[in-house]
């Protein structure tokens, strides 16, 4: 039986360790030996919560231990559960939870790379983020590793270049004139992702993903060099599409940690800008999805519509994408939304809505679109739970989750948010979800603008106490965006870990690809909206001939 309230929850959790409630955060420390797996099973599978992410912290200067915090979200009880696993600095090993919750796979491997904590019984204990030529036993996020350290170059690099698979691809592809791969970096789109699909004829048997080629180490920069109010601008540049949601999540995390009350007007402005960002992101995604389905008229229409949203953002904030509005404690003075701008937003959104409804309902009811997307790339509800997928991706698989409604932040506290949920779990459901979200967002902005209160724009942030924990969550266009901070000395963070929603969503892609046709692979990968990038650059390995060739969407959906 599920506990009815926080009190009963605390009693139940005492079976596994020592729970402590600090506001919204429920730390469980001193886990009884051998009980970790039962605890994780209880939290993720029985309590109706879900695994969100894991954070590794080098807290040796503070209490002499490394720590791993597994974050579980229990929306029903309004708490974040942080399972605290200390690791002895002499022998940093903790038990892995990946066998119980597969979603923890990457987060645990990231901690292995960066902090050097080993996870016992992890199914794939390989490097995830650090390159193969990185020396062993050097862990960049430990506090004794300086941020500007340059490591000596390794001999291994030369070897890597020689063994680069692309050389062999070129040789093999020369007979049948398939396109040459341009490395794992796409020249036209802006993010490197690398999929390996294993096919038998036209059927996909298995898929592998390798990413993290552009890890920039901004966590280390933020912890070593930047002050609290400089980080929002770096956080905004985590993503080229939904940057503002990152800076908001970061600011919220620090505000939580330091218990700063954000003035209401700032909350409203944040919400309005976040919704503008969501609309432009969904327009972008829809455009790309139509393009991948071979319907370029739809692509052009969506991107033209998006342009008016970008112009609106530029008029409001001075930049199409990098709004630069957030600081810890509120919004910068010049970013106020004044009367004449309220009229401008209402006016522009009205026009966009009108034009949007002229086109998109027609497009998504077209038979061609339905045939390509219905019953394709299905992610069942149980698989979605297994990988803790987030946002529209989860909502398309029948999971009713949205940070805006269930853990309201910014101005979502004051308004109702409509959450569309679909049960089919296929690509069509994902299109419908985003379609409905666009309309809901436009209406939401109108409602927010009607009620925008007159208060200050930012709170005073003179003093931020040391060693406080804070989690900031926002509903990014792609799902829950979580930022974890520990405050530190000298106006600087001790630890900052942003976790973008695609981190969880990407893990589910191989599952969706299995058993599908090769021609559907681009749209399946794109359907999670993976911060849209090189998703069209896939390497195909034919199991019968062992031949590798790159997969380009142009070749699959349109003419070459």
């Amino acid at each position: 039986m599920r506990p009815r309230n926080k009190c009963e929850l605390m009693t139940n959790l005492r079976r596994f360790g020592e729970p402590r409630l600090r506001g919204k955060y429920l730390f469980i420390s001193r886990i009884k030996s051998g009980r970790l797996k039962d605890l994780v099973d209880y939290l993720h599978w029985r309590l109706g919560g879900y695994y969100s992410t894991s954070i590794g912290v080098d807290e040796r200067p503070l209490d002499g231990y490394f720590h791993v915090y597994h974050v579980f979200v229990l929306e029903k009880y309004g708490v974040y559960v942080l399972v605290d696993l200390p690791a002895n600095p002499g022998h940093p090993v903790v038990e892995s939870i990946t066998p119980i919750v597969p979603a923890a796979n990457w987060a645990e491997r990231e901690i292995m790379d960066f902090i050097g904590i080993k996870f016992r019984a992890h199914p794939e204990p390989h490097r995830l983020i650090l390159p193969d030529d990185w020396p062993d036993n050097v862990y960049p996020l430990r506090k004794d590793f300086p941020y500007d350290e340059k490591l000596p170059t390794s001999d291994k690099i030369a070897k890597l270049v020689r063994e680069s698979p692309s050389d062999t691809w070129i040789a093999e592809d020369s007979e049948d004139h398939t396109a040459i791969p341009v490395g794992p970096y796409h020249p036209a789109l802006h993010e490197p992702e690398y999929f390996e699909l294993f096919v038998e004829g036209e059927k996909i048997v298995d898929a592998r993903y390798k990413g993290f080629m552009v890890h920039r180490g901004i966590e280390k920069i933020a912890e070593s060099r930047l002050t609290y109010n400089q980080v929002p601008f770096i956080a905004e540049r985590i993503c080229g599409i939904c940057g503002f949601t990152h800076s908001t999540a970061y600011c919220q995390a620090v505000e939580e940690a330091a218990r700063i009350d954000v003035p209401e007007r700032a909350e409203y402005i944040r919400s309005i800008l976040l919704e503008i960002e969501r609309i432009h992101s969904h327009f972008l995604w829809m455009g790309v999805a139509f393009h991948l389905l071979g319907y370029d008229t739809g692509f052009m229409i969506m991107w033209r519509l998006r342009e008016s949203i970008m112009d609106l953002a530029e008029k409001l904030t001075g930049s199409r994408k990098m709004y630069g509005a957030n600081i810890v404690g509120g919004i910068r003075d010049k970013w106020d939304i004044k009367e004449e701008k309220v009229a401008l937003i209402n006016d522009t959104l009205g026009k966009i809505r009108e034009e949007y409804l002229k086109y998109v309902p027609k497009i998504i009811s077209m038979e061609e679109i339905k045939k390509r997307t219905r019953g394709v790339g299905i992610l069942s509800r149980s698989d979605a739970r297994k990988y803790s997928v987030l946002g529209p991706h989860a909502r398309a698989s029948g999971i009713n989750t949205d940070v805006r409604r269930y853990r309201p932040y910014a101005a979502y506290k004051y308004v109702d948010v409509e959450i569309p949920v679909e049960d089919d779990g296929d690509i069509y459901a994902r299109i419908i979800i985003r379609h409905e979200e666009i309309i809901a967002s436009i209406d939401l902005i109108h409602r927010l603008l009607d009620n925008i209160p007159r208060t200050h724009l930012h709170a005073d942030t003179d003093y931020i106490p040391e060693r406080r924990y804070g989690i900031g969550c926002t509903e990014a266009p792609r799902g829950e965006d979580l930022h974890f901070v520990i405050t530190g000395k000298d106006n600087k963070l001790y630890r900052w870990r942003p976790r973008a929603p695609t981190y969880n969503n990407l893990l589910s892609v191989p599952t969706m690809l299995r058993g599908e046709h090769l021609a559907d692979a681009p749209i399946i990968i794109a359907s999670i909206d993976p911060c849209f990038s090189c998703t069209d650059h896939i390497v195909v390995v034919d199991l019968r001939s062992g031949r590798r060739r790159p997969l380009r969407t142009g070749g699959l959906v349109g003419g070459r």
């Binding site: 109010n229 400089q230 601008f233 540049r237 008229t297 530029e314 409001l316 990098m322 010049k334 077209m366």
Partner: protein, 167 residues
Amino acid sequence: MNRIKVLLENLRKGVVTEQYPFRPLRVPERLRGKPVIDPDKCAGCGACVNVCPPNALTMRDDKHSSMRFIVLFIGRCIYCGKCEETCPFGAIRLTKEFELAAESREDLYQVVGLRLYHCPMCGEPFTTVRLIKRIVEALPEEQRAAAIICPRCRESVTAHYRSYARR
């Protein structure tokens, strides 16, 4: 059927592409473009250097030539406008210029050099002449003497006076 309706709607819309770069692009009022330092207003206090998130603004004191250099490197700038917001003299501001491609790396730098001010007691440089002048002008007569010496000397002078006061 739907496909044709969409096409018709599209035809009615007409051409929406802008003729940039053959015609200049209209930019909005609030565009945050290339930052420019006004060398006549800058006093070399370094407030902008402190707030700049990507280290696009840096400060360097050259003892040989007795100059302080405020260096702005556009290649690192993220156009956040923190410097403009912070500058106490309104010396740095973001223009609407956005076409910043340059033929050489040097074109991306703006350097402002200011004469260093040396402490009359210990002779160490600690700020610029222009900043000291502005500070002195802003202060009442009786506080000026304390402002023109470096913080370290000021500390020892204050300690000296305080120890007299206690006796």
